[in-house]
Symmetry: C2
Subunit: 381 residues, 2 copies
């Protein structure tokens, strides 16, 4: 009946389902525990008719022409380049902290000196992780590094992750650099934008194939068994492929303990005005418990007389109570993940892919690339 | 695994699924061939953010407190009473044709006489089917009847049904009466309104139960066998109930021939203005090929700077090509339906309910009432 079962209807699952159905003419059953497709990239109109991102702001950006072209099969784009301001000392300044930010924050003479030294010592158009900058010998740069560390980095990181920066993997903390450039954009990738009519419409187009069957509001455990002795669907042996995009620890009943995630909570406000902020994202590194405020209309390009904003409160992830957002990339957790990964290798015909299944802090483009790679690999088997 | 399989996620199917899941703690699998729930009552935001009814205007109205209270479990209401104008002799006049319409169309003396005679001969606050009115002896009323017949009824009916009024069942043609009243509302039911945030949100709330599993984009035939020898799901005997809300002729491979339906095609226009019409529905009985223009914001109550309207073109239903809307209630078709109905009685544990399964021109409230009745019946078994 089905050639492939895909567990999870987020990016990873839908890319595989789409490729296998449309290119290999496979019959695919997609099982999704939520009531909607698209995973955490799901967007929807709120009750005011404003398009919002239910699980926080998603800005697509990639350097991969392959990924961009692939998604462009299913959507046109709203060409948007993300800009972020952070409230520092009562002023809204560009983030990542760059040469412009330096001018806005410091006196002209000091700013000029810092800019000069940054360019001379580290080069122009370079992103320097803040923890790297702190290691510089120069007094001005040390001062700058400490300033950025204290005003932009430390408390934001503490709020965001619930642990100090030293406990996090450098790949995570490197996401907050000082950028030696006048480029105020948050990303510098060649391809940036949002699906013209929203992510959900793009995902609908991806899954709109007669070979793709969507079983929603269903936990795979309720109808399947996946294990070393083989896999079953509705009690019968299932010989086909399984693409698993859920949590890897859940697949094995958390036998080695839970892999921790960071979660988020959102508070929404709608205003009877066209725009409330000058940019799509306003960071609050030091004040309040939320990390940032997103004004979705800047991102989506929607024309509407009202505007909806979301304040974002990081919080601990608790299984069954809230939503898993970010794997917490830290040494101990990686060790635990590897135990699960080893066990996953003993399964028959089960392929793990995606943020939850690989316990990786994937960006959207990266998970598409990984899914396409897995698809290619499956063809060579 | 599943106690009940519901085929079709429209009103009939979702009422049964909801009751069985929430009241009987049954595990329910709902199979739906479309990508969305709600059947033809499905609504969605268009690309301008205007809430539209994808399958034509749906205005909920009922005299049944039970039905109203039941749906109110899943939605609040936008209290809306439908008003319709028809373009007659270049003027927009209230429909159903009533005492006010008479004043707008005829000279004062003639109008006054007609009003008097209608009230005297037929009573106040009475709806008289136009075909009934034509049988009146009085000259003025005959004139009125012929006028309404020609200007409002005949061509509209021909467009709507593709056949003449004499071929249609009186219950269908009675939907266009002359109303002896000054009440300009299209419906007089005690309870009228639209789900506050749309039909789709109401259906989502109905199906939002952990016992309800939705298999979308899947034809039941692809995974089930339903027949006199028993029913199978994924090749295994299925002992539970089946609620079938699809077309009854399809269930038996059209063995007695196809039951005909009328279909519709919509053309949408969005304007950069708040409102385009003074009411939600403007009928075009004699001009153009469309029957009516719906301006959704009047119905939904949405506040938006733009407005979307749909022109409605009736057309023949062709299986696999367009959507079935209205069963064509005519003698020959009823005979054919009865053949199918007889055959359906031989099935095991299969219950047919809804517009398509019963080949009935149900209003929304009537199908809810019927589904609730079936639910009650199932409890007494």
């Amino acid at each position: 009946m089905f050639d492939t079962i895909v567990i999870g209807a987020g990016y990873a699952g839908l890319v595989l389902a789409e490729r296998l159905a449309s290119q290999q003419n496979e019959q695919v059953l997609v099982i999704e525990q939520r009531r909607h497709i698209g995973g955490n990239a799901y967007d929807r109109f709120d009750t005011n008719g404003v398009l919002i991102h239910e699980y926080g702001p998603h800005i697509f950006h990639t350097r991969s022409k392959e990924v961009w072209d692939y998604l462009s099969l299913f959507t046109n784009w709203h060409y948007y380049e993300h800009k972020v301001l952070a409230k520092v000392d009562g002023k809204e300044v560009p983030i990542p902290f760059n040469l412009n930010t330096i001018e806005e924050v410091f006196t002209p003479a000091l700013a000029h000196r810092m800019q000069q030294k940054l360019v001379d010592l580290l080069g122009y158009n370079v992103k320097v992780p803040i923890l790297k900058l702190k290691e510089q010998d120069d007094e001005d740069l040390k001062f700058l590094a400490n300033y950025v560390y204290e005003k932009v980095f430390l408390n934001y990181t503490l709020k965001q992750w619930g642990i100090g920066p030293e406990e996090l993997d450098p790949t995570v903390t490197a996401r907050v650099p000082v950028y030696i450039s006048r480029d105020d954009r948050y990303f510098q990738d060649e391809y940036q934008g949002l699906p013209k009519f929203g992510y959900t419409e793009m995902f609908k187009a991806m899954s709109d194939h007669p070979n793709i069957h969507m079983l929603m509001n269903t936990r795979y455990q309720d109808i399947m068994d996946i294990g070393e002795e083989g896999n079953r669907l509705f009690g019968q042996f299932f010989e086909g492929k399984i693409i698993y995009t859920g949590m890897i620890d859940e697949l094995f009943g958390f036998c080695f303990g839970e892999l921790p995630y960071r979660s988020l909570r959102f508070e929404y406000d709608t205003y009877d005005t066209e725009y409330k902020q000058s940019v799509g994202q306003l960071n609050s590194p030091n004040s309040y418990d939320f990390t940032r405020i997103t004004e979705f209309k800047h991102l989506t390009g929607q024309q509407h007389p009202k505007t909806t904003l979301a304040r974002e409160y990081p919080q601990a992830y608790r299984s069954g109570e809230n939503t898993a957002y970010y794997p917490i990339i830290a040494e101990e957790n990686q060790k635990r993940y590897k135990q699960y990964k080893k066990r996953a290798a003993t399964l028959h015909n089960v392929h793990l892919v995606g943020r939850l299944a690989e316990y990786k802090y994937y960006n959207m483009d990266a998970v598409v690339a990984t899914a396409l790679k897995l698809y290619a690999k499956l063809q060579h088997k």
